[in-house]
């Protein structure tokens, strides 16, 4: 040790920078990647795995791939010649179907407008500055209604009505996923509060409902939605299939989220309830202002996990004949032109879901950090 330690009078020691070598990237690598022999081996193994996977994938997906110019898999192969890359042409050719399903081509602009409105709605819900303005908040309620009319059509606004069986692809995923997410959250809060309610009617009803839904696979519920419900409904009534699916998906995720929220509620100390009561807050006030903000905050990772699950579960609607992007893609690769392109399809679909789910996951982390108030 060459550092000379100067003596300072008691209480007069100045603030000094940390000794060199105790901070910075080199130090970080030494601490985190090469701190021991086994750690070094793992680091090198990791680098080797990245080396054997990433460059070939990039070669396949980007460098050797074909996007435009091919009308079929054969033409793809002809263009590529020796280098076998990905044939993205079927995505390019069928882009319209992937996005809109069988929505009439001349009406697709309505879906585009609805996408933009939905993006605004999400921004309002997620960005606190926008949410604080009452007028903008009202927009968040009106915009989804506008989306609904735009997509389904309404003679009131001179929009041709489009039956729901024409909706597919990303449009379908977003309809089911987003309305499922936005509707299931309030329902799940009510279910969680009912379940812990002192009034037996509420708690028994909520418990039976939650346990029933959680005890049955989603596919079964979707089949119930597509077949069994017709027996209960009066004959001749035409209860839209997509709407039934929406209801089932929403209830399914509501039951799961309700349990997550119940866990959050259980973590709130009784002192919080007592302090709220002692101040004279009513039940709903204390729930809304004191208990739920804290319980929901604890539950964020679980709730977002359920949302991600719900979003991915939307692919199950294929089984009852609705065509989400996966359904559209599977239909595409079973045609003679594109037969044999399954890898490309699943990579594409995987990427689509990954982008949405990863964003949700990041937002949840951001929210947790923002809401942390140091306790």
């Amino acid at each position: 040790m060459t550092t000379e330690t100067k003596k300072y009078p008691a209480g007069m020691h100045p603030v000094l920078p940390p000794p060199s070598g105790s901070v910075g990237p080199v130090r970080w690598m030494r601490d985190n990647l090469f701190s021991s022999i086994s750690n070094t081996v793992l680091t090198l193994l990791g680098l080797y795995l990245v080396y054997i996977i990433v460059p070939p994938f990039i070669q396949w997906a980007f460098i050797d791939s074909v996007v435009v110019g091919a009308e079929s898999r054969k033409e793809c192969l002809a263009i590529m010649g020796e280098d076998r890359g990905a044939c993205w042409s079927f995505v390019y050719r069928r882009w319209g179907q992937f996005v809109y399903g069988f929505y009439p081509v001349e009406e697709r602009w309505r879906v585009n407008v609805a996408f933009i409105l939905a993006a605004f709605t999400i921004a309002i819900v997620l960005v606190e500055k926008l949410r604080n303005d009452k007028r903008i908040l009202i927009g968040a309620i009106l915009l989804p209604v506008a989306c609904f009319f735009l997509i389904t059509g309404s003679s009131l606004f001179g929009l041709v009505s489009v039956p729901t069986n024409k909706m597919g692809g990303i449009l379908l995923t977003l309809i089911v996923g987003l309305s499922g997410i936005f509707v299931s959250l309030p329902i799940s809060i009510m279910l969680a509060l009912s379940r812990i309610s002192k009034l037996p009617i509420f708690s028994i009803f909520a418990t039976i409902f939650i346990e029933f839904i959680r005890g049955v696979p989603l596919i079964t519920l979707l089949f119930i939605a597509s077949t069994l419900l017709s027996y209960f409904l009066p004959p001749g009534s035409n209860f839209d299939l997509l709407l039934r699916v929406l209801i089932m998906v929403t209830l399914f995720s509501a039951a799961y989220i309700a349990e997550v929220i119940r866990g959050g509620l259980a973590a709130i100390p009784t002192g919080q309830y007592e302090a709220a009561d002692a101040l004279g807050l009513s039940y709903w006030q204390s729930m809304r202002l004191i208990i739920l903000p804290q319980a929901l905050k604890i539950s964020i990772p679980g709730i977002v996990g359920s949302f991600i699950g719900l979003f991915k579960d939307t692919t199950l609607v294929v089984i009852i004949g609705l065509l989400d992007p996966l359904g559209i893609g599977m239909a595409a690769i079973s045609t003679t032109e594109w037969a044999g392109l399954s890898t490309e399809l699943y990579v594409f679909i995987g990427l689509f879901f990954f982008i949405f789910c990863f964003s949700m996951s990041r937002y949840s982390l951001h929210l947790e950090k923002k809401l942390h108030t140091g306790h």
Partner: protein, 249 residues
Amino acid sequence: MANNNDKPAIIIAGMHKWYGDFHVLRDINIEVKKGERIVVCGPSGSGKSTMIRCINRLEEHQQGTIIVDGIELTNDIKKIDEVRREVGMCFQHFNLFPHLTILENCTLAPIWVRGIPKKEAEEIAMHFLEKVKIPDQAMKYPGQLSGGQQQRVAIARSLCMKPRTILFDEPTSALDPEMIKEVLDVMVELAEEGMTMIVVTHEMGFARKVADRVIFMDAGQIVEENTPAEFFDNPQNERTQLFLSQILH
């Protein structure tokens, strides 16, 4: 209003409470005049907390009557809320709302329960935060404050509702010794201003200084009730004598 003034603040008459089969409070009778300061003490588990929590209906009593500011506590939620608006409470563990700032903790109930405009509520809150000597912490969160500061915020939060009575349940027993004084000072000041107070505490110095009456509880009953001077210097009941000998060493 004038004839209201000679009505007692709190009347507890023939009150009993059970937890299941356990007879936790037996025949409690207390009358508290407006502006009176009562200190309640007694061994652990004697029912002190349970008793004062009955006064704002955090606990339900099963027999007898409790009348607060002329309002009898029954199952009527409206009456309960009316009583809670006029009776503040400070807890052993402060129970501040951790997701709200100090200022928001103080303005929440005035805004939502009393319907006071936000600006005015904030002015009131700052006034009381100054009174408890922590106006500079208004924008912080409870998790960033020391225990003594948190308890003073809790007192300010109660005061913001302009209650007629404040209940304290061992407000200093979760605090480190050096913080006890700062909280007691605030409480002494409140007492000097004529606030009706019921304080469960083992701080005998505080009791001597401000209490009009000391109530000693043991095994769910009021065993002795006297002025502080008589209570400390001339205890009648042998259980009181034993308790005092333990607590005063």
